[in-house]
Symmetry: C3
Subunit: 138 residues, 3 copies
């Protein structure tokens, strides 16, 4: 049994979902283990990670619209020094969470057929985001 | 240190919460490890996993009503080719997440007294759902 | 490769967020492993765990206000035998989740600069809360 640990960096284009499934899959391959447990941690408080539909683009559009509905921008937040999109970004990151765990078997992540891994950028502007990756196995 | 990996399948009855605590517990026992880390991954985008109250049935009824309030059905979604219950199902799965991790000690999951593991079906119709299970330990 | 498992207890002061980053960090140090995977599980259904902003206090105030907005107290719940703050507490715990996983490298949790670990108490009154901690690594 052994482990590997690294950081993946992604440049986001502002608010939206970036699919990172193949980047993560490539890292697992590099790590040289075929069976184990993969963990991802988004190292930010206004970006997050989630697993969702990888086929229908409309799902992502609806998901973003729902984030805006459920945690809207507005002048009712106390924390506004970084702009009106900052506090809603913290709320949306809390809603979706910053952690994912995926068992790996026979060299493949055990995701379902329609599942993709997404990095969610909740700020309006582009940011460089880091995702800590860890695998333990053999 | 060693690991075990498998898939548990569940037939849901349509929208609702199915307690799977004893199924998971049985699998841990079969895996033959008494101490370690258990990981669950629901392999779907319209069903999810959560840990909640295992005693009061009313908690589950209120939880389902809240899901319907917070991510309602309606004609305002772009993604509707699979019916009006599909996009809300994706939103509710995002809200609750598809992952759980539970430390195991002395052959028992370290859940609190009132905690049960639930598979949440967010589609109206019955579905067969798969949960990937993984344990590493000894 | 080895593992360590324990329980951390916290006395909350009623509804609010308690930062537990240094308690968790101290436990990792005691566990005597410098590299591995740390898992936390809040053993309750009306308290939860989350990673958020550790600098601006206003973020926590806005987060609590959002919890109250999104899962309000009221007389519309079926489950009310433990008081009007009980069912909203279950909903808020479901929203944020009871699990966290953090890779550890060179003796430090791989959190981002602005990330802190918080125990969220969702009941009005003070409670003693237990967090199961587990680390596997070397």
């Amino acid at each position: 049994m052994r482990q590997a640990s690294s950081t993946l960096s992604f440049d986001t284009l502002g608010r939206g979902l970036t699919e990172i499934t193949s980047d993560v899959s490539d890292w697992v391959e590099q790590a040289g283990m075929t069976d184990g447990l993969l963990t991802l941690l988004c190292r930010h408080t206004s970006a997050s990670l989630l697993i969702q539909e990888n086929a229908a683009r409309a799902v992502r559009a609806d998901l973003l619209a729902w984030f805006e509905h459920i945690a809207p921008e507005g002048d009712h937040y106390r924390h506004d020094d970084e702009g009106p999109d900052d506090m809603p970004a913290h709320l949306r990151a809390t809603l979706t969470g910053v952690n994912l765990q995926i068992p790996v078997a026979n060299g493949r992540m055990r995701l379902g057929t329609w599942q993709g891994i997404y990095l969610a950028e909740h700020r309006r502007r582009p940011h460089r985001r880091e995702v800590a990756v860890h695998m333990i196995g053999q």
